[in-house]
Subunit: 123 residues, 2 copies
DNA sequence: TTTGCCAATTACTTTGGGGTAAGTAATACT
DNA sequence: AGTATTACTTACCCCAAAGTAATTGGCAAA
């Protein structure tokens, strides 16, 4: 409660920013919410479910999420290769927050779109 | 509940993406949470409170938020000019969600940083 | 008369996110 | 022999987002 706004915002280690670097990433959010609904998934399953992500961005995003300990990766020594991705316990705790945002989005999209079109008319 | 994941994700009007376009923006989040704490603020007050945003990005961000109807702008015909920014009712409803994310960030930053450093060592 | 204030705007440059396409390893199938 | 599969990696390129720095307008105070 007694946080100093200025200090918080200037802090290079600001937790909010640390998190936004990941959560603000559209692909990361999509991966987390998708894993949150489907549980464990293989690479191509994620790739097809998300639909418009490229392989490159999926690889990059998964790597970042592993790095942060939000997603775990399990590789099977088989041919053809099999790799499974699952949310970690920490990752799971993020899902309800993202879902809350999604619900907010659903509830407010109409108003936002209307506001945008009104704004566009005036300008 | 019976949402089809694939359809949802391929939908160009997907609410989640519509919202992420704004919420995923680091500056927008900073502006909303700052206004959420301080109430009405003038341009320079926001500028100084956020600290490391440029005037340009603050202007651009405020414009986007107005466009979406999340922030209202009130201009006084005075010299030197005075402009006040306030969250709209819709904008206010977003604050607790963003604060929840901030709390999550605070609670999990330590773990994330540790995970990152462990990951860095291995690779 | 020069400076400062406030809220921008403009011009210019840089960064990097993200796309496409091709390549890779190792094996099984035809 | 040739092709498919899986989970990537690599190389190359583009464009929009964001940063920097200078400028504006109109008035008041030093």
């Amino acid at each position: 409660m007694e946080n100093n706004l200025k200090n918080r915002n200037r802090d290079p280690d600001c937790p909010v920013r640390t998190v936004l670097d990941r959560i603000g990433d559209k692909w990361a959010v999509l991966v987390i919410t998708t894993l949150g609904e489907e549980g464990t998934m293989r690479f191509n399953h994620l790739y097809e479910t998300i639909g418009d992500i490229s392989q490159k961005m999926l690889t990059v995003t998964l790597k970042k999420l592993q790095e942060d300990g939000l997603v775990s990766r399990k590789m099977y020594q088989e041919i053809p290769p099999r790799v499974e991705y699952t949310l970690t316990d920490t990752g799971v705790t993020l899902v309800p927050l993202l879902n809350a945002l999604a619900e907010w989005a659903n509830a407010n999209m109409k108003g936002i779109k209307k506001s945008r079109s009104v704004y566009a008319e005036v300008n």
